[in-house]
């Protein structure tokens, strides 16, 4: 077993970015993303990382700089949260439309108003259709690992797509915990130098970002969609080759206690770890429940998800974001849609929980599981107090 090191999760992320030998980092400070970029600035200032660190005047410019540098052939990185992501929004769509393989860590935080600096997934869900590969991690080790995986994947010539790694703000990003790192030699072996097919250079001029008339736009979008779906294979490959390097294996849908399960929790991000503990306790009490954690949100793992829920009677889907006035949380809405054509599809109970940093405890998961009713609206905004009254 490799030696484990204690590290704040944000610093682990910075360590991985450093080991990926990025050429350029452009970022603008926003809580709770700051620790990652501060540490990267230190690495550059101390000469541990030979990269440009550009402290820009806005998130909009952070991503703009990365687009420019990536188009010039430099491996680039940025990192943001919440309002910062919202400000970047238009550029997220452009980055993927231009097929620039950037990697961004999104330290998830709720969107204002009311202002909250704490964690939920409303930021990333606001750009759900931005066309990036979107991954979620559960712990510091996974974040560290997924930085390598993300670059490997993004720069794969068969993929050429930017990647967002979602990490929960504070409750994960600011936690000091143990993890294993890989050596620089292993890092080099896993991640070859960035070799883009086209770059901005006078030796071979290209035009990037032309405007299209209706005769081409649909085709361009269709290719984007097909490419994003087709990245599923390379995602599996990237996970596999990472396992060879690190010994840790990852899957688009992580399964725990799913054998003979009658009910399944489905969740994304770090709260899946608490949910796993809750499921473990319920199993010990003889309750046939299990847990699915979506690691890959885009491309959406339709086939794997359908396989994983076969035979299950009820899904308890926990969303960390709300579609106000809509069908509930985005995760549940998408799973419902994915299962619509299935025979014997399970009942779905959707909880919107953990908004703006509200804690979800083991007891909460058990309460959610023991509630039998499905609201007419198909979802419930879980606020603990109500749950206590019901219990």
């Amino acid at each position: 077993m490799k030696k484990r090191t204690g590290m704040e999760v944000s610093f682990a992320a910075a360590e991985a970015v450093k080991q990926c030998k990025v050429d350029l980092i452009a970022a603008y400070p926003i809580t709770p993303q700051t620790h990652i970029v501060e540490r990267l600035a230190e690495h550059v200032a101390n000469g541990e990382l030979d990269a440009q660190f550009i402290p820009v005047e806005s998130e909009h410019s952070a991503l703009s700089l990365c687009i420019g540098s990536q188009a010039a052939g430099a491996r680039s990185f940025t990192c943001t949260s919440s309002q910062g992501l919202a400000l970047m929004s238009e550029l997220l769509y452009i980055t993927s439309g231009l097929r620039l393989p950037l990697v961004m860590i999104l330290v998830n935080r709720s969107l204002s108003a009311p202002l909250s600096i704490w964690n939920d997934h409303s930021d990333v869900m606001s750009v759900r259709d931005c066309g990036w590969i979107q991954l979620f991690v559960r712990n510091g080790q996974e974040l560290y690992d997924h930085v390598f995986i993300a670059y490997k994947l993004a720069e794969n010539p068969a993929v050429n797509m930017p990647v967002i790694i979602n990490v929960d703000g504070f409750i994960l990003s600011h936690v000091f915990e143990p993890l294993e790192t890989i050596s620089s030699h292993e890092a080099e072996r896993y991640l070859p130098p960035y070799a883009p097919k086209f770059v901005l250079h006078p030796d071979d001029p290209v035009t990037i970002g032309a405007f299209t008339m209706p005769s081409f736009f649909t085709e361009a979008k269709k290719i984007h969609d097909e490419s994003l779906k087709a990245s599923y294979g390379p995602i599996l490959q990237a996970f596999q080759s990472w396992e060879h390097i690190s010994g840790r294996s990852y899957h688009p849908v992580e399964k725990q206690y799913t054998q003979d399960a009658e009910t399944l929790f489905i969740i994304m991000g770090s709260l899946a770890e608490t949910a796993g503990e809750a499921v473990k306790i319920m199993r010990e009490q003889g309750v046939k429940t299990g847990l699915l954690t979506l690691r890959v949100w885009r491309p959406f793992p339709f086939a794997e998800l359908r396989r994983a829920i076969t035979g299950v009677q009820k899904l308890i889907i926990i969303d960390r974001a709300l579609s106000p006035g809509g069908p509930g949380g985005p995760l549940a809405a998408e799973i419902r849609a994915a299962l619509y054509n299935m025979e014997n599809r399970p009942q779905i109970l959707n909880y919107i929980a953990g908004l703006g940093g509200r804690d979800i405890t083991i007891a909460d998961y058990i309460r959610m599981h023991n509630t039998t009713s499905v609201q007419e609206t198909g979802y419930e905004i879980y606020d603990q107090k109500g749950a206590e009254a019901n219990a």
């Binding site: 550009i54 700089l65 970002g209």
Partner: protein, 307 residues
């Protein structure tokens, strides 16, 4: 006045190809063509959204014989900054060969003085080694002649129309070159395609500058200003000769008028051919004229002081 034949000394090579879809007589397309001639082949262009972007890149066609990227409206300076920093480190790490490559950011007056001002200020402040060119046609021409902060006082646009209760643009033109100068950057200049040799000299200086350089080029817009397409060059000259748009440069803070004007022409000579000023009352014109003369004297004083 330079020799009539002197323009023949300018490079014959074109980098902004024919077949672009700018309006006939477009002063902005002409300025772009002249600028790219001088910058030559070792350049990368980051363009903001706007007329020049639309007319030069209707997929699958492109008029850019040099590497060119368009990302969005407000971020040409930031994209250029990323390219510049990307090239710098790739060269330093030996991943690409070391050579001088000019990184040019270009935008219209909206992409410079309005929506693009923040990204531009950031890039100038961080001292990126880029050349930023504002092609100023004094309104949002691409979307149909809406006012910008660079629209001159009194000009009628579709969002500052001359009506019964309002006589066109209510606010004076934002002084972008002064804003650039305030960033303490090494080179700032104004230019006009009606003075191709002056423009060429400034583009050369700007490209040779280490650190940020800012060029502000008045780009006559026949469609938006309401003039015939063949009057573009004349209007550019009148803007300079009337003191409306003086040609000068600011090198390390030192001002120099590069196209001296002995006696300013009356501003009416410049206004008269343009539909956008046609509604102005003589008193308003007199007031504008007064203002232009004051600003001209101020500029002359600054220029005399440093020369």
């Amino acid at each position: 006045m330079p020799s009539l034949y002197a323009v023949k000394t300018l490079p014959s090579q074109e980098y902004f190809a024919s077949g672009h879809r700018a309006c006939p007589g477009c002063g902005e397309a002409l300025a772009v063509r002249q600028v790219q001639k001088i910058l030559g082949r070792n350049v990368i262009v980051a363009s903001a959204t706007g007329c020049m972007e639309i007319v030069s890149s209707p997929f699958p066609l492109s008029s850019w014989e040099v590497p060119w990227i368009h990302v969005a409206f407000e971020n040409a300076a930031a994209v250029a900054a990323g390219i510049e920093k990307g090239l710098e480190i790739l060269q330093r790490k030996g991943k690409i060969k070391k050579q001088k490559i000019t990184v040019l950011a270009m935008a219209g007056d909206g992409g410079t003085a309005d929506i693009g001002l923040q990204a531009l200020s950031g890039a100038l402040e961080r001292r990126h080694n880029i050349l930023f060119i504002c092609y100023d046609n004094e309104a949002y021409m691409n979307t149909g002649v809406q006012r910008s902060s660079s629209t001159p006082f009194g000009a009628s646009t579709t969002t500052s129309p001359a009506g019964t209760h309002q006589a066109g643009q209510l606010t004076p033109k934002k002084n972008m070159p002064a804003i650039a100068v305030a960033h303490g950057i090494p080179y700032v200049a104004t230019a006009s395609a009606s003075y191709p040799l002056d423009l060429a000299a400034k583009v050369r200086k700007a490209a040779a500058t280490r650190g940020p350089a800012y060029l502000h080029i008045l780009s006559v817009c026949p469609s938006g200003w309401g003039i015939p397409g063949d009057a573009t060059i004349k209007l550019g000259r009148l803007a300079v000769q009337s003191g409306v748009f003086p040609l000068y440069e600011v090198q390390n803070g030192k001002y120099k008028i590069t196209v001296p004007v002995q006696e300013l022409l009356p501003v009416q000579a410049y206004f008269q051919p343009q539909r956008r000023f046609r509604h102005l009352h003589p008193e308003t014109i007199e007031q504008i004229s007064q203002d232009i003369r004051e600003k001209w004297q101020e500029l002359k004083k600054r220029s005399d002081k440093t020369n």
